[in-house]
């Protein structure tokens, strides 16, 4: 086990490496990371560090992990990462840590994670982030969850839920119209 300060330095370094413009450095960093889902909880804890650069790097690395896991053809990896993110979001960790996990769930989660996210619509501190995550997740499960919540949620939060439902129903009507010759 690396001593704490070295671990922090390594997190910062890894974030730089996974964002490198050199493919071989990125690949090596991802290989070193190993199983992505195993990194979600320790990095979430690190993201509330009082050492600001370390907290920022941990948050950035979590984001990189979420997007990596949600890449095309990696559904199981996305599912595993989503489960860990939901564990963080549902925990008693500081609200910003839980809110960040929910933000990332908006990118990684599919219908399987929706019931867990929907439960958080009842938790005042994170209900807005849960709503924003559900609004992003395509499919009927998240629509049903939002519709269900619109009937049971508290009055002050109901307009927010209704807004998400309206946004999901909106269909862009301008496809192709910008490419017409003047």
């Amino acid at each position: 086990m690396l001593e704490e300060s070295k671990l922090w330095a390594r997190v910062v370094e890894l974030l730089m490496h996974v964002k490198s413009d050199k493919a071989e450095i990125r690949t090596a960093a991802w290989n070193e990371m190993g199983k992505l889902s195993e990194k979600v909880i320790p990095l979430s804890d690190l993201s509330s560090s009082e050492d600001k650069p370390v907290a920022k790097a941990a948050k950035g690395l979590l984001e990189a992990i979420a997007h990596r896991a949600a890449r095309p053809g990696a559904k199981e990896e996305a599912k595993e990462v989503s489960e860990k993110l939901l564990e963080v979001a549902s925990s008693g960790r500081p609200v910003p840590v839980r809110a960040w996990a929910l933000h990332l769930l908006g990118f990684t989660a599919d219908g399987r994670a929706v019931p867990g996210i929907a439960r958080l619509l009842k938790v005042t501190e994170v209900q807005e982030e849960a709503r924003l995550a559900l609004e992003r997740i395509p499919g009927s499960a998240s629509t049903s969850a939002l519709k269900g919540a619109s009937k049971t949620t508290s009055a002050p939060f109901r307009p927010n839920i209704e807004q998400s439902l309206r946004a999901r129903e909106a269909t862009p009507k301008t496809v192709g119209t910008t490419l017409v010759k003047r």
Partner: protein, 454 residues
């Protein structure tokens, strides 16, 4: 609070409909009526006359004065203020309001709520100079309220916002100009004619460069200053506590509000590039972006960034490089690589310049003559505004219409998404969607904070 705001937004369209019906049933007042009524102006009516009473609704006549409302007047938006025809000033910072109010004639409405500007029947057109995350929602609501719009670049923050803006402008028949004034810059025009007439041969690569994004700055989370309505500053964006390194000018270093130089000045240079490459009705087929994240400070745009867009039919590539080559020690610009020669175009906004060979060039009679509005002023930004004003009266498309502005801003939007996702993406320019990447498509829209919606 949220509920009442939401209602107010909905009321706006209802009121517009009511207003439209009322106007249809009345006989338009003639110019002679206006002259007869001029005594009333002296007798104490507002300094700025409602233009709607002297011409057809939404169509000021060729000699009519256009009445403006100005929204977002802390930065570039301040330069758009028309001192002798301003009916309203709007900014979420009361210091900005007080400063600009001193410079205009009469007693315009001063407000922190843009909806009050849109509700004014005497206002024909609005300028929007807010941070990026407000552009789309204000522009859409302005179009729905029957106002013509000059919105600062970049057009919007997301693909969905751009679609909504185009839709609103087309459905409501509004004149919407995007403030990418390279399209009104005679130097950019010279470069465009030079390239489009084949003077450097077939261009296969446009190399865009810019100095690095700013880095550093942790700021302090604290109560916002009294003059600033922080909740309104955030508007549709995700809530976050006030931090001085986030507000006002610094919005551009955060993805939630701006998106770095590539969306800021990048929008200028990319706009000129799309013009020179005759690519206003085309889009890339792929984008790949990498960059070095910022280890310190609250800002989350990368410090350095490299992007490659690929275009097909014809085949060419464009690259964005921070800090890049910085040819001739120029901070930002583009080098066009043709199969016979190259051309450097520095900047892309009001400060654009190019090489002597392009400046000296005039196309032959049967060559390609690119349109440039013939205004007599040395200031490209003013030329750009004049083009908008002229189009408000003629109802023609301005030189940087919302359709063109949207087509340009797609480039930095999808580049930032590629950077955030850490992978190359394929893009469908017709459908405005990524191909084969469901997660990337989740980033085409940004869920809004209630009660804001498009």
């Amino acid at each position: 609070m949220l509920k009442s705001n939401s209602k107010a937004l909905l009321c706006l369209s209802a009121e517009k409909e009511k207003r439209g019906k009322a106007l249809k049933t009345k006989n338009p007042i003639t110019r002679r009526d206006l002259i007869k009524g001029s005594a009333a102006v002296v007798a104490g009516m507002p300094y700025v006359l409602p233009s709607g009473v002297i011409a057809l609704p939404g169509r000021p006549g060729p000699n009519d004065r256009i009445v403006y409302g100005h929204i977002g007047i802390g930065g570039m938006g301040r330069s758009h203020v028309v001192a002798d025809s301003c009916a309203a000033l709007c900014d979420v910072d009361s210091n900005h309001l007080a400063e600009v109010a001193k410079t205009v004639k009469g007693t315009p409405l001063l407000t922190k709520d843009y909806r009050e500007v849109l509700d004014r029947k005497d206002i024909d057109a609005v300028t929007i100079g807010t941070p990026d995350h407000w552009h789309a929602i204000m522009a859409v609501h302005a179009c729905q309220a029957g106002k013509d719009v000059y919105s600062e670049k970049p057009t919007c923050r997301t693909i969905q916002e751009g679609q909504a803006m185009v839709n609103a402008a087309q459905q409501n028949k509004r004149v919407v100009q995007i403030g990418a004034q390279g399209r009104s810059n005679p130097m950019a025009h010279k470069a465009c004619q030079f390239i489009r007439n084949g003077q450097i041969g077939k261009v296969n690569h446009v190399e865009v460069w810019h100095s690095n994004n700013w880095s550093g700055g942790w700021g302090t989370e604290k109560a916002p200053p009294l003059e600033l309505d922080w909740d309104k500053w955030l508007g549709p964006a995700r809530w976050r506590p006030y931090n001085s390194d986030c507000a006002h000018f610094n919005f551009r270093w955060l993805m939630d509000f701006g998106g770095g130089f590539i969306r800021d000045r990048g929008n200028h240079v990319l706009s000129v590039a799309m013009w020179c490459m005759d690519a206003d009705t085309k889009g890339p087929v792929s984008v790949e972006a990498t960059g070095q994240s910022n280890p310190n400070g609250i800002w989350d745009v990368p410090v350095t960034m490299q992007v490659k867009w690929e275009f097909k039919n014809p085949d060419w590539t464009m690259t964005w490089d921070q800090p890049g080559a910085q040819y001739d020690k120029i901070e930002w610009g583009a080098k066009y690589h043709g199969d016979r020669d190259t051309l450097i175009v520095s900047g892309g906004d009001g400060g654009c310049d190019t090489e002597e060979k392009a400046k000296r060039y005039s196309p032959p009679a049967d060559g390609k003559h690119i349109f440039l509005d013939p205004y007599v002023t040395d200031d490209p930004t003013e030329r750009h505004r004049q083009n908008w004003r002229s189009c408000i009266k003629s109802r023609e498309k301005p030189v940087m219409s919302v359709e063109l502005g949207f087509n340009v801003v797609i480039l930095p939007i999808i580049a930032n998404i590629s950077y955030q996702l850490g992978r190359k993406l394929r893009w469908d320019s017709l459908m405005h969607r990524f191909i084969g990447d469901e997660e990337a498509n989740r980033m085409l829209a940004q869920p809004y904070r209630a009660p804001y919606f498009l």
